[in-house]
Symmetry: C2
Subunit: 402 residues, 2 copies
């Protein structure tokens, strides 16, 4: 009857241990903290078969999530998004086993809702009343909405260039929203100051340990959707990289539980835009952390992150899984977005389109082999990005003929 | 191993019978046609338990859907949308058992994808190569996208006032899109002419019999999500009314199968806007069909339908279930939309907000009783309607303080 088998927090850099019973943000060494579970107990108590018949949302994995009392769960039905077989575009690319996990079918139309659902629920359990965060739009929208449900006051700071609909979501949810004439790093500095000045919970990417647990559920779902046989390659559009770190963490936990084979990990691919590719640069230079990217700019605004706090974790996950990092151009992103919509009927976000471009390029380079099973993560709904499509169509008068 | 137990088409007015093996549109009497299944065979072959372990999309009910060969299924993962417990707003309204079925979590962010998935798949099975339809936006977007996947050419005509994002979706999908300076009825006339001139499949609301089968799955899911005990009241924002007719049809089929109790049908409520309430007027006047509404106009554009072809079916379903029809004001819709977002964190569409207003009013009138289980259908994602929320927030410069 134990809802969560959460154990403690640990620092992946200095191995310090912290409690999940009280608010903890970064390690004293400055590193993000990760959540550990009682794997040995879980091995006995939690079987794959237990999932059969559970509701198709991410709380089906509650034993592997950090919220201990279900009364604190804030939910809008997030999770178990479709794993779509991309038959037509896959053939076109020479990847007949191409799949897309469509994170557009989730509250607020973006995968950020996973991190928000788990992060907000845990914050509520910890007694948090007020939080603040910088965002490129979608995370702020998601956190605002879940905070509304949890009666937590949210302060959100986003660049003026963030997708306009995300402002509307924050305001609808009753968040205290501020725009900043700058990038997410500038929003982060403003939030850092406010956190100090007003004693707020800092919900910035990786500055609280629980968002990643929500994102982890993408990895759990991928494994379950392939009947516990992991795919060969996963392509992930990478800004802050929490999803990639989370997916990697998920597969390790599933291996420890014995639910998936220890012998095989999917090769993880960090996809960035040529206009903001700090992880790709660090990867190519063989570094273990990334330098800040100057003058970051891309149409895939969600991955316009000049410096990721978890860069070392991203690079580590890519390296250990024999993955890679690759950048693609904005032109190719917009072209691919239209190709995917017109070919498969899937209107993806530019970040998702970037991952399709990367799949195409890696297949051309034969880094992806013809018979491999490949998953592209579409991190959000195309409908949040109206500016990716230009419309120039006839306007008829009543009674006119086609 | 039979995928579908579809039997034939029948006319609910004159009882004529038609085949599902060839293209049929309206009955020769002008009425929409409905799909009939081999219920007796199904009773033997299909049990509620068969659903356990099936993927959480609407194709889990394939036996009760009209597509006979799964190779024709066009899918983007639609269906099994969340049934959310609206704890806080329910208490506020005096309906502690208030639920929302959130059709925002579906491809293209609107429940129209259900009808499109099944309608397009069946059209493909019937050999259709080109279709046309008028739309208030969302249906056209959904049909365009599924047609792209099915390699069917689509011609879409929508009012210039339709939500702007839906134009983008049609264009992204490669549809032939036309705007008309008028209402959906004017778009319908243009499509009618084009259907004749160019010999197109007419995918207008209820002019093909299969869209309703897709919408029907909302009723199947509601029953399954409540563990085969139907709720007391379902509130449905009503334009063309296909969803309401479909939900009613679903419950009748489930009764025939013996999956739900014959004794109880949910009371179905058709919710309209005061600016376009032909069904409400007919209902109040005790008529069995509705007169066209003059100068139709509402912020809930999806239900801005002055004359519904299935009006007699809607009114019949309301009457037989002891339901009702009710109209609400645009002011109340926009207020409720903000209340729902700020209270529950759910950013609903204006049509969904209308149904919440109706629940509130019907509770005040004691038509809904305190202990009743009530389901509001939110037919789409709020993110498709940015204009419902006004944003006026501070813009900070880099380094500024909150």
């Amino acid at each position: 009857m134990t809802y969560s088998y959460v154990s403690h927090l640990y620092c992946p850099k200095c191995e310090n241990i912290y409690s999940t019973k009280e608010v903890n943000q970064l390690c004293e060494c400055g590193s993000p903290l990760l959540v550990s579970y009682k794997i040995n107990e879980l091995k006995e108590a939690f079987k794959r078969e237990d999932l059969v018949g559970r509701a198709p949302d991410l709380w089906r994995y509650h034993e592997l999530l950090p919220v201990e009392d279900p009364q604190y769960v804030a939910t809008l039905g997030e999770g178990m998004t479709p794993m779509l077989y991309m038959n037509k575009i896959g053939k076109q690319m020479g990847i007949p086993n191409l799949f897309m996990k469509d994170e557009g079918l989730i509250p607020s139309g973006s995968f950020k809702s996973r991190g928000a659902a788990v992060g907000v629920s845990k914050a509520k359990e910890l007694g948090v009343g007020k939080l603040a965060m910088p965002t490129n739009g979608n995370a702020g929208a998601a956190w605002s909405l879940y905070c509304a449900q949890a009666d937590i006051n949210s302060t959100i700071v986003m660049p003026t260039d963030a997708p306009e609909i995300t402002r509307k979501e924050c305001v609808a949810a009753g968040a205290d929203l501020y725009l900043v004439d700058g990038l997410i790093g500038d929003a982060g500095k403003i939030v850092g100051q406010a956190v100090n000045d007003y004693n707020l919970y800092d919900a910035s990417t990786l500055k609280e340990p629980y968002r990643i647990e929500g994102k982890k559920t993408m990895g759990l779902e991928i494994a379950e959707q392939f009947n516990w046989e992991v795919p060969d390659v996963i392509l992930y559009p990478t800004g802050g990289g929490v999803g990639l770190i989370g997916i990697d963490k998920a597969f390790h936990e599933l291996q420890e539980l014995g639910w998936i084979d220890e012998g095989k990990m999917p090769r993880l691919v960090a996809v960035q835009s040529e206009g903001c590719a700090p992880i790709v640069k660090a990867w190519e230079e063989g570094k273990s952390s990334a330098d800040p990217w100057e003058d970051a700019s891309t149409v895939a605004f969600g991955i316009n992150v000049a410096k990721a706090l978890g860069d070392f974790l991203i690079l580590d996950a890519i390296r250990k899984t024999n993955g890679c990092a690759i950048s693609v151009s904005d032109d190719d992103i917009l072209k691919e977005l239209s190709i995917v919509a017109a070919t498969e009927g899937a209107f993806v976000c530019p970040e998702g389109a970037a991952a399709f471009v990367a799949a195409r390029k890696l297949r051309e380079q034969n880094w992806i082999k013809h018979d491999e099973r490949v998953v592209v993560l579409n991190t959000g709904a195309g409908i949040k990005y109206p500016n990716t499509i230009e419309v120039d169509v006839p306007i008829l008068q009543k009674g006119e003929k086609l």
